[in-house]
């Protein structure tokens, strides 16, 4: 049972991190029709900014300032390059962001080096958020923080006693992502700015003729989207590893999220991130392979089939490629995505 709960939480925390990234990506896409290939690079810059600021002003101020700096970088990039190439159509826009991702990758290596930097979370987040104590006689108990040592020890070998702490960094990650989701939703639906943004999405000319500066709205949305990626970077970098390849590893997955959720759909992105996070985490737990399934169904396989390295692959081994399989399936059977509204 504690395995299920912890794996679920692990999967959800990873999924929520993906959501922090993909929400900005899908917002930018729905506004400008541009898939921002450099989005994961902003995630990486966020982590590195957070790392550098962390050593100067501490983690909490860094958590606030790093995303703002990243957002400012996003604004500058939009103003100086993206807006200039906008009139040439979508392909040049796409290529510009693509080029940016390479430049950022190289710049980060020049400034911070090619190896991982040590971005340690603050002491408050170092321990456990809560601990599940599973006792074979008294059942499951829940303890905030780390469980006292005597609760996790038993002299009686017959009693099965397992303590499973849940890291505070992950709990924090989940809280921030949920806060972000709520405030984003409130901003878009309940405020005047949100109304202008939503209107500019579908009817930019009408909004412009009403006297709103649509390019500036675009610029601010781009800045906000990259800022969110920066926030995810600070949290992701301190929880996992801060290194130059961190952008590339999530970069491909967030595109899967956006496509699976439906291009431009925020709720779709939320659903898809959670789904992919949970699928990837639980897939690791399954040791079924084609061979083991066939054998448990009573099919007799030849020696050659049993030792075939492809048929022997377990689900846990193919876990890293599952999101992409999912992507292909969605594109075949539901090209508009899970919650998307437009075709293709």
């Amino acid at each position: 049972m504690e395995f299920f709960i912890i794996s679920m939480l692990n999967g959800m925390s990873y999924g929520l991190l993906l959501f922090m990234l993909s929400s900005g990506l899908t917002l930018i896409f729905s506004m400008m029709g541009v898939l921002n290939f450099a989005h994961a690079s902003f995630y990486m810059i966020g982590a590195y900014f957070g790392y550098s600021l962390n050593s100067v002003i501490g983690f909490w101020p860094a958590l606030l300032i790093a995303p703002i700096l990243v957002g400012a970088c996003g604004v500058i990039f939009e103003r100086l390059t993206l807006r200039k190439v906008h009139k040439f159509g979508h392909v040049p826009e796409l290529l510009v962001t693509f080029g940016l991702s390479y430049i950022v990758y190289e710049l980060v290596q020049l400034i911070w080096g090619r190896t991982a930097v040590e971005f340690v979370p603050p002491d408050l987040l170092k321990g456990a958020a809560f601990t599940l104590v599973n006792h074979s006689l008294t059942g499951m108990t829940f303890v905030w923080g780390a469980a006292p040592a005597e609760m996790c020890q038993t002299a009686d070998a017959a009693i099965r006693l397992i303590c499973t702490p849940f890291p505070a960094t992950r709990g924090f990650m989940m809280i921030v992502a949920l806060l972000m989701l709520v405030s984003l939703w409130l901003l878009l639906t309940k405020t005047r700015i949100g109304l202008v943004i939503q209107a500019a999405l579908t009817h930019p000319e009408a909004v412009e003729s009403l006297g709103h500066n649509v390019p500036r709205v675009f610029m601010l949305v781009f800045g906000a989207g990259t800022g969110l990626a920066g926030l995810a970077g600070v949290i992701g970098g301190s929880t996992f590893v801060t290194e130059p390849a961190m952008g590339a590893t999530v970069g491909s997955v967030i595109f899967v999220v956006v496509v699976v959720g439906g291009m431009g759909s925020l709720s779709g992105a939320f659903l898809a991130s959670l789904l992919i996070g949970v699928i990837q985490t639980f897939a690791i737990a399954f040791d079924y392979s084609f061979v083991s399934v066939a054998q448990s169904m009573g099919v007799v396989l030849s020696d050659a089939a049993r030792n075939n390295s492809f048929l022997k692959l377990t689900i846990s081994q193919v876990a890293p490629i599952l999101p992409y399989v999912f992507l292909v399936l969605i594109l075949i059977f539901r090209p508009k995505g899970l919650l998307g509204t437009r075709e293709g």
Binding site: F3, I6, G11, Y14, Q109, E118, T131, V241, M246
Partner: protein, 411 residues
Amino acid sequence: MKFAIRSIAVAALAMSAFGAHAQKGETVKIAWIDPLSGLMAPVGNNQLKSFQFFAEKYSATNPAGVKFEVVGFDNKLSPAESLNVLKAATDQGIRYITQGNGSGVAGALIEAVNKHNERNPGKEIIFLNHSAVDPDFTNSKCSYWHFRFDADTSMKMEALTTFMKDRPETKKIFLLNQNYSHGHQVARFFKEGISRKRPDVQIVGEDLHPLAQVRDFAPYVAKIKASGADTVVTGNWGSDLALLVKAANEGGYTGNFYTYYTGVTGTPTALGKNGEGRVFQIAYGHYKMGGLMDKYQEEFKAKFNDDFYTGSVINIFTTLGDAMAKAKSTDPLKVAAALEGISSKSVFNGEIQMRKTDHQLQQPLYLTVWSKTDKKYNYSVENTGMTLVPVKEFPPYISSTPTSCQMKRPG
């Protein structure tokens, strides 16, 4: 151009000087082909520093009187990239290469070196393998041009399972390894060894994960805990071990770890004070081998603020120097012949011998455990206040394993 002139000059010098010590004063360049970027770069950085540090030391003291120079090439941990780099190295006239991180890379290099030497007689290359431990390299895929200075997985597992024989509390084992030849071999040889020595031990889980890709080992730790394993056996190294033990600490896993590479960059810091008495390492050395080695270690730390752990580097320079003195040449063709079967006195692990049949260095192995530093074992690894304390030593005659190598020799 400069290289061309220099190599012509060196060649001319070698041709003209038919003295007893023709090799004296020559510069022997060794191309170091390992990762300097990506998740495994910290390991590569440390080892490149180790090679350059000892190249300097051994240039002064080797019996052949040659000067060693190590040229670093970043292979990004990729076999394809390594072959490009090998080409670059041979274009520069470098005739000795060394690599160790990743048996996948080592396998590709062995094949490339075999091909190169077949096609370019007179320009042979020698591959000095410092850490790639896939047993195939000294069995089915053995090559005359390949020399291994680490102990292969069959040797390490022989020692490890022998140790487990005397630990009846080990009952349930989980095998977690990287999904490439090395990880497969660790799992295979462990199962083979344990079924011979402890048939009662149960393998409750076995998993393979991608090499140097996983950032988050929490799902694996949850799986290990759910399996009820009291012991994890893993051949993981670098970030794959550091992040694994970090996730195990966070996830509250309290079982034992039997590893190959606890002392390698990143893992000691990730372990910290945790894991005392629970994390074991099987290797050809540890942090308190005594004598000159302790001095070297202190010096290395003072110079780079980093730990020296790749002892095979020393054995490479020792053996290579002896072989060049014996061959009275730096020509790889002659040196390879001299390396075969050579016995040397290692600075740290006693009498070592490069076995002629398969080019596997025969050396003692040590099983060590992660413990607090004390009076005797006082080397603090990565300034953690912890160190690896030996619990059992396996002399070469125990750790040695038979080989099926049918080596093709030139001529």
